[in-house]
Amino acid sequence: MNVFHFFLQNHEQILELTLEHLWLVGISTLLAVMIGIPLGILSAHWPAWNKPVLGAANIIQTIPSLALFGFLLPVPWLGDRADRLAILALTLYALLPVIRNTYTGIRGVDPAVVEAGRGMGLTGSQLLFQVELPLALSVILSGVRVAVVVSVGLATIAAAIGAGGLGEFIFRGLAMVNNQLILAGAIPAAVLALSADFGLGWLERRLRPQ
């Protein structure tokens, strides 16, 4: 039986695990964006926040993923359900690229443009929402793209703690020394990563200011 047949026969399960995978990546990316963008703005505007925020995000990034899952396992409410745990871990990993790119994007806005805006009497929030964020958007989006691509790969490891996703095929395949099973997890994961990369990359280019 070749891989193609295997995919046809198991398409329901593949689809189910792919959706599960998408859910883990989607929710954690959303959380990372909701937390990371405000933190990035904060560190871009108040230099005192810059070091601690980026430092903390950097440190998280250096913890090996299995170890992070292990650390979080005994935490009360979190450890109850594997998907919560996986989402938290994925969120933490996704934070760094989002924060860093928000910071870089806002810092990269032409100072003359910001000065003109302040000089003509824009309030802080008008300046942020009408000038800084729109101009930083493509850079922020490229951070989100990196976060998503990394998360798709990392989320396969979430299966190790029983959080589901395409990693289930991979771990089962590894245990049973079955290449087709491994590919049933790896190929859809690669397709997800590539399409996210392509789609967000396209959006990013469209939004890049001239």
Partner: protein
């Protein structure tokens, strides 16, 4: 509210001091008055503190000592957003919003101030005409304009909400001689019609002589002298004389005769 008689200055520096973030003093004991309807030109070499002085007026910077008054009220006591919206500001590097069309650039403050779309549109058309630009440029983005056109849009944007005061920081500095000449002429005729109180920064003596009601000469953070253009040419002040000498022959021919 303090009562301001008609003759009182629109902008007033009283013993203003300003130090750089590293503590080094930049401006010291600066006293200066700008009268209603005049064009005061701040002239001085690079680094003499012209931009800094300008930014003290719309409180992009705050004085470390003394006070700056606009319409009789110390800027430190006024609502900074209202203050800035009542002052048009044209910066050295133009600073148009690259993600907005010309129309949105010019109409931003009116829109924030709650004007309706129709009124904004009419105002933008009027302003484009005023600064000598064709109406169809309204839908372009800044990167689709020439440097001279961008400067004109910058001026139009500063005039959008019809402020009584205009601050202009070397607005024509980066332009070729012919375009600069044309914009200076247009500035003079515009100023004759609008009669704004203008503080204009330049390091070009010819430009200063041509546009100024009075020239304020700055050097190393100090005000050297404040004189009308014709007196500036005859000034016995060594620095003013050095400027005139450096400028070579013929400066007298350009002196601004339009201003009172």
């Amino acid at each position: 509210m303090e009562r301001t008689p008609a003759t009182s200055p629109v902008i007033e520096f009283r013993e203003v001091a300003y130090a750089l973030p590293n503590g080094e003093p930049l401006l010291q004991g600066l006293n200066l008055e700008v009268q209603r309807g005049e064009t005061l030109v701040l002239l001085g070499r690079s680094g003499s503190g012209k931009t800094t002085t300008l930014k003290l007026i719309n409180r992009l910077l705050t004085p470390g000592g003394g006070e700056v008054r606009v319409n009789g009220t110390p800027t430190a006591e006024s609502d900074v957003i209202r203050l800035r919206r009542s002052i048009g500001y044209v910066i050295q590097d133009v600073g148009l919003f690259p993600h907005f069309t010309v129309e949105r650039n010019i109409g931003l403050i009116p829109r924030i101030e709650g004007w309706n779309a129709e009124r904004i549109h009419r105002r933008v058309e009027e302003l484009l005409q005023m600064v000598g630009l064709e109406a169809q440029l309204a839908s372009r983005y800044p990167h689709q304009l020439s440097g001279g056109q961008r400067q004109r849009v910058g001026v139009a944007r500063a005039l959008a909400a019809d402020p009584a005061i205009l601050l202009m920081d070397e607005p024509f500095g980066a332009l070729d001689a012919l375009t600069r000449d044309q914009l200076q002429r247009e500035f003079l005729s515009l100023q004759q019609r609008l009669n704004k109180t203008v503080v204009f920064v330049t390091h070009d003596l010819r430009e200063a002589l041509r546009l100024a009601s009075r020239i304020a000469l700055m050097e190393a953070g100090k005000l050297v002298t404040v004189l009308p253009p014709e007196d500036f040419l005859r000034s016995s002040d060594p620095l003013a004389a050095a400027y005139v000498r450096a400028f070579g022959e013929g400066p007298a021919s350009v002196v601004n005769r339009g201003a009172s």
